[in-house]
Amino acid sequence: MNVWELIIQQPLTNVLIVISHAFGGSFGAAIIILTIVVNLALLPLTLSQIKSSKKMMELQPKLAELQKKYAKDRQKLAQEQMKLYKESGVKLQGCMLGMIIQMPVWFALYQSIMLALAAVPEGLLNLSRFLYSWPVVFSAIPMNPYFLGMDLASPNIVLAILVGVFMWVQQKMSTMPTADPQQQSQSSMMLWMMPLLFTFMSLTFPAGLALYWVVNSLFRIGLQYRITGWGTLFKRAAKPGAEPEKKHLKFEQPPQEEIKQTIVDKNGEIIITDKESLKKSQKKGFLDRFFKGGNNGQQDQ
């Protein structure tokens, strides 16, 4: 047994088995509880990650400003960005470190679930070397793989879909809005790629693993909601090229006389700085002219 198995995989596997035994042999309940316990243990790291993301989200307008200001000087831009992060208390390394520390724990949990499930005879034989000499552990094996009518040792399509849905929601909630088209397309790709990948994996792996992913995503969704609310879940992504400091103007349908007035004085009074709005207003004008039989068009001229 190597160091990883001895200090991480073995204790986790035995704890999983003991929890399962404590809950009447329900392996599904054991997966849920252990996932929550591990999430709670990693809560400080997760919280600092989410808070850093939140701060980053708040810094987006200022970052965009800096990008615009130092578009031609990448070095200066990096310096100013770092300065901004420092002033705002955002620790990029902390954010990354948190993720890196958490990943092995998730892998260990995944490995323990797969190990304890012992879905095939080789798995059961392999499991024997991981067991502590506690009588409760020996008598609890093999685990009952059935949970809420699902066989956790085989792929389950319902759980696989839930994995995709909850992972998408979690990703969407934590996606940072950005004006950079490249970053936007990257995050948009991640938003769909990750849930699809995990759904596909859930369709090929035992459902016990999918259950773990579902519970994990739900926990993260709950945590994210407590800190940032729904985040960007119900917000549409900004269109590529749109500059965040310029607000889109919404044109109400003005009375007929007013239109005449603005058209008459348009060169002196109305300045539209936003290209999208200009396009919209032109389009709207065209539609108005189309539906109103071209009267306004005649007056335009």
Partner: protein, 386 residues
């Protein structure tokens, strides 16, 4: 400034270490996720029959080493999603049916139980299929082997049933349902079928109609094949105990507790019972009382790993193989343990002895051969059909 640099170096080292750990352990498969199979061999008329890890019955003529293969066992197409079999994962081959149980051979037929939930009967002459059970559907996977007695086949299934089939026609004669999976092989003695289940019971069923004669509840599941000798049933369990029960009444005679599961059937040679255990020891016990005669592994030459293979007996010798690939021989007259051979791969399947040579299948899909007397490792025979 120096402190800052040190901090940076520390952080980089930490990140690098974490990434290495992730790469090495995280993305690697958990071992034991794929069903591969570990069928042993059965010999009849100088021909060794074995369920190869390719998923088909193989016959090796031990005189001229010519080989013959039956058709591949068919994968249950509805077993998974996107055409993948549910029994395989983590990069496993999807077109292969694992075979765990050792084939049973009679003068005319060979029987193989597959992990696809079917039992097949073949002609010994040309390995042509004679019948399959069930004909159109699939049962749950068969992990244990079969027992042939009086033109009947007895087998336990992962669906918890014990089945009795007509060996000539493949017709189902009777069945008995236990409360959990059966991965063990039954033993039939004096008209009684003995079998253990994951439901933590040892069952004694009347061989004629599979009605319950008695059952004995223990604290662990059972995968080991029971041994019946001198009116006593010996069976090991996952509760780390070896049980001796009165075969007629199902009452306890004695138990012996080890440090891990008893995975295989014990053997009795020269009045001593030898039981290999997953704790890495071989226990020599008095079969009548359970008193320890000797524990091999405590003060012997080799560091012994788990014993998952069914041992084999040749004269006064008992041959054991450990999971880490070491083959041992115990001389039952002197209680001396000797290392016969050290192989690189793991050995989990049963050992078969024929004419002084022990045969077993290894994961490189080959039959290994060792001369029991001299310990000479003979040239292996490949089971790859090409």
């Amino acid at each position: 400034m120096k402190l800052k640099n040190l901090k940076r170096i520390g952080l980089i080292s930490l990140v690098a270490t974490a990434l290495i750990i992730i790469a090495v352990f995280g993305f690697g498969c958990v071992s034991g996720l794929s069903a591969i199979g570990w069928s042993g061999g059965a010999v009849q008329n100088d021909v060794l029959y074995v369920g190869s890890m390719e998923g088909r019955l193989a016959a090796i003529n031990l005189v001229d080493e010519s080989r013959q293969w039956a058709e591949y066992l068919k994968v249950q197409s509805s077993g998974g999603i996107f055409g993948c079999s549910s029994m395989l994962s983590c990069g496993g081959d999807t077109s292969r049916v694992p075979i765990y149980g050792t084939p049973v051979v009679t003068d005319e037929q060979i029987f193989v139980a597959g992990y696809n939930g079917k039992i097949y009967a073949y002609n010994t002459i040309n390995l042509a299929q004679r019948w399959v059970f069930p004909r159109d559907t699939y049962l749950s996977p068969f992990v244990g082997g079969m027992f042939y007695d009086d033109n009947k086949l007895y087998v336990g299934c992962s669906d918890g049933f014990v089945y009795c089939l007509n060996a000539i026609t493949g017709e189902l004669l009777s069945s008995y349902q236990t409360e959990d999976k059966i991965w063990g092989t039954p033993t039939v003695a004096d008209g009684v079928v003995y079998i253990g289940s994951f439901d933590k019971n040892i069952y004694a069923l009347n061989a004629g109609d599979l009605t319950l004669k008695w059952k004995y509840a223990i604290e662990g599941s059972i995968i080991a094949e029971p041994l019946v000798a001198n009116g006593i049933v010996y069976v090991g369990s996952f509760d780390k105990k070896l049980y001796a029960l009165n075969a007629e009444a199902g009452t306890l005679k004695w138990t012996y507790e080890a440090n891990n599961w008893f995975w295989t059937q014990p053997v009795i040679v020269n009045g001593t019972l030898y039981a290999g255990c997953l704790d890495g020891f071989i226990y020599a016990l008095n079969p009548a009382t359970g008193a320890v005669v000797k524990v091999f592994g405590e003060e012997d030459i080799a560091v012994i790993s788990a014993f998952a293979s069914q041992p084999a007996v040749e004269g006064n010798y008992v041959v054991f193989a450990s999971k880490d690939g070491i083959v041992y021989r115990i001389d039952t007259t002197t209680q001396e343990l000797k290392v016969l051979a050290v192989l690189t791969g793991s050995i989990t399947g049963p050992l078969t002895v024929y004419n002084g040579i022990v045969y077993f299948q290894t994961q490189d899909i080959a039959i290994q051969r060792i001369d029991i007397e001299s310990g000479a490792l003979l040239l292996s025979i490949s089971l790859i059909s090409g």
